[in-house]
Symmetry: C2
Subunit: 461 residues, 2 copies
């Protein structure tokens, strides 16, 4: 527990109502969406201004208190779990202002606590488009998205969060403000600290304001649901579409287990006997959309699709995407513990990766539903289990190891969009090198000599 | 001078034919395209393999020798000028292999010494597209482009080099290999060292291999030359086009002085009495291109253009872009010294920035030709002078100060695409903050404790 005197200093920094010390409050911020042990923070603070945020960080720095910044806690790799040594959780939910949406220069400036979907809607209301759409967008924050370099369904055509961060200011451990990037399309002023901060999971600084790139929206889009009787047909279709130089906005895969779970959950009218579904959307100029939709449909048929159902209305289109967005919730209902993985491979390796996941499920007798962003090579094999069943959990851990090993052997990566956090730090050297870990730790040590910025995340202790 | 023993060790590391010690050779690598004093390196080495590169770096590290990596030396901010203390120049021109172009997964792997235009052509021959096209692309290298985060004419629609770097391996000062990023669209494994390395101007590591993103090419494009009798009409048209949610690939500006210089040089048939030209190209699906070209032409007329000339053939289109690409050479012939600046502002501030440049030219009695990527807010005011004329040079330095000050006051940045290098290091704090310099220097010190990676660049001594 922190001393009363120190708690009073935090109260002076952020206002007494914004310092939470009760066990119930601290409990609420002790975990995130990853399947990992919770850790109680010593203190939770909720700054309401940039100045209050800087003061809170300065106090943590002065007293060597580990800082874990928390948006909505949707993190899937333990990045928002506080530190054991008197951890301080800094909530960003009162730093939720959209400071500027600039239609002439196509950028916005936001505070880190703005909810992703609210921001996208505000931008859309001004006739512009912010493409990144992580699965948790309805509750996730932009600060969290930047800290994790969040992906989403539109990554294939539009890229991920990192592709939209033009600049930011962040606090160092003294509570001083560092500035990087600009409101201009081109900026090479200083080291690319903006690039370094994206995906740094709170380990190198605390975001103050973020400049995000906006683009004009596509004029129209067309979605379709494609049914396959064999998984291999579906996965090979993904590669075939790209090989034909068509880049859909979204190209999602659902296996039979996931289809049945979604149908049980949402009664959306999905074909429960299908081996796999692809949900595809193209967007752009109406003429291009019409052509590409026809080409994709034709390709799917050539690859053996048993049904290609093109959405004829906005309502039908919404139905397609609601089914996809329900996948995780639908699977999560089945068992007490849901392990959502995101090992990622070059997209041409999707057929091989799906075979591996099927083999792994058989080998360990586990239930794995697989869905995800097939167009990015970013699948989410989702293991349904019960953390309390020690024998099965041991198998789950082995299965995860096998999945990572396979992804790396296929030229892929440990994490496409969920982050390394606490969950995958131990695997990092396997993908990179000893020198990479050494380089990263040297960098961390220099920028955070007291090791108080979200310790243990990404590069371990 | 280095000791003979050490030179022999370099010869063993990279091969005797690849160690250059003569004064003539060293002279050749003592300067780059920036207007800055040259510095003779102690040694020039030319590794022919990844292994040889690693060994050369290891030797430099062991002996505390400053390393300046050099592609084609087209750098405009002094980033390729060697260090005074026994600097070693490492040439990348023998590390010029395209290791892979992957059509299924839309990426390529290259060594740093590959020439940009050769790479773009090799990619195009495979039916794909690598958009970044810096002005120096015919001679510049991809390693140099990544080190400087090079821009180009297509930045407005397609972004800059940083938007195409998916991952890389680089040597640390021990000659050990650090790995970051992946061949997948999505990758959040480890700190985003790839982002940090882009634009780091050789100060944090030496590139070994680079993974670049490729995209399908646009189906077609249309270029047009638009003539204005008043500069303000041209600059306001730039903002009007974007405000209409049209994002051309390229949207270039040439002032009257530049137009006349180009016409003198190339006899391309440019309208020498025009106050300003806009050169505009839209690309994409044929239907979209036709519509957008019509809309842009109509907008230009509404904004007061006296002539809109749409290129009717590939030949006419080439003529438009040859005129633009000739701008720098045409200006450079006029006076012994060409100072090419790239202060950049949000694009809606282009009219204000052009007025500032005109005022500065008048105030100091200097000849400034202005052209550049107006759509990005990235202008190149080009001061034509004679470095030996001390009185005029003093005015040039004051003029540059004024231009930077104005760009920052307009919400812009010191450098859009030329880098900070030696030339602008002293201005960095003005745009950022003391804490930014401190943060950047801490990072540098940790990753390069001997201060041998291109010392003095970006963050000063």
């Amino acid at each position: 527990m922190l001393k009363d005197k120190l708690i009073k200093e935090f109260a002076a920094a952020v206002g007494p109502a914004n310092v939470l010390t009760s066990e119930v409050d601290r409990q609420a911020y002790s975990y995130d969406a990853a399947v990992l042990p919770s850790v109680m923070p010593a203190l939770v603070v909720r700054p309401e201004s940039s100045q209050a945020l800087g003061r809170a960080i300065h106090l943590c720095g002065q007293n060597g208190l580990p800082i874990t910044v928390r948006g909505s806690g949707t993190n899937l790799s333990g990045g928002t779990i506080p530190d054991k040594r008197d951890g301080v959780v800094i909530l960003t939910n009162a730093l939720n202002k959209i400071l500027e949406i600039n239609e002439e220069d196509l950028y916005a400036v936001v505070q880190p606590g703005v909810i992703t979907a609210k921001f996208a809607a505000a931008v859309a209301a001004r006739g512009l488009f912010y493409p990144p759409d992580p699965g948790s967008q309805a509750v996730s924050t932009l600060g969290g998205n930047v800290a994790e370099n969040a992906g989403g369904l539109r990554g294939l055509k539009y890229g991920v969060t990192k592709d939209y961060v033009m600049g930011l200011t962040f606090f160092d451990t003294n509570g001083d403000l560092v500035k990087s990037g600009a409101k201009t399309v081109k900026c090479v002023t200083g080291l690319n600290l903006t690039g370094l901060m994206v995906g740094s999971e709170g380990t190198l600084g605390v975001f103050n304001e973020i400049i995000l790139k906006l683009i004009p929206p596509p004029q129209t889009q067309r979605a379709m649901m494609v049914v396959f009787d064999q998984v291999a047909q579906a996965s090979e279709t993904v590669a075939a579409i790209i090989a034909h130089k068509i880049v859909p906005v979204t190209l999602e895969f659902l296996d039979n287990f996931t289809i049945r779970a979604v149908e049980d959950f949402s009664r959306a009218g999905l074909p429960v006997t299908a081996a796999a579904l692809l949900l595809i959307e193209v967007d752009g100029h109406p003429a291009q959309v019409a052509e590409e939709a026809d080409q994709v449909a034709e390709l799917c048929r050539q690859m053996g699709a048993s049904l290609v159902q093109v959405a004829g209305s906005a309502e039908e289109r919404n139905k397609v995407w609601e089914a996809r967005r329900a996948a995780l919730s639908a699977l999560a209902r089945r068992k007490p513990t849901t392990v959502l993985e995101d090992a990622t491979v070059p997209r041409s390796k999707i057929p091989a990766m799906i075979r591996v996941i099927e083999d792994v499920a058989r080998k360990y007798g586990l239930t794995i539903g697989t869905f995800g962003h097939a167009g990015d090579g970013n699948l989410h094999p989702t293991i349904l289990t019960d953390r309390r069943d020690k024998a099965e959990w041991a198998k789950v851990e082995l299965a995860i190891d096998d999945i990572f090993e396979a992804a790396l052997n296929l030229g892929g990566t440990l994490s496409g969009e969920h982050g390394i956090g606490l969950a995958k730090a131990k695997y990092l050297e396997r993908e990179t090198s000893k020198a990479t870990i050494f380089y990263s730790r040297s960098l961390k040590r220099a920028l955070d000599p007291q090791y108080i910025l979200n310790p243990g995340k990404i590069i371990g202790e």
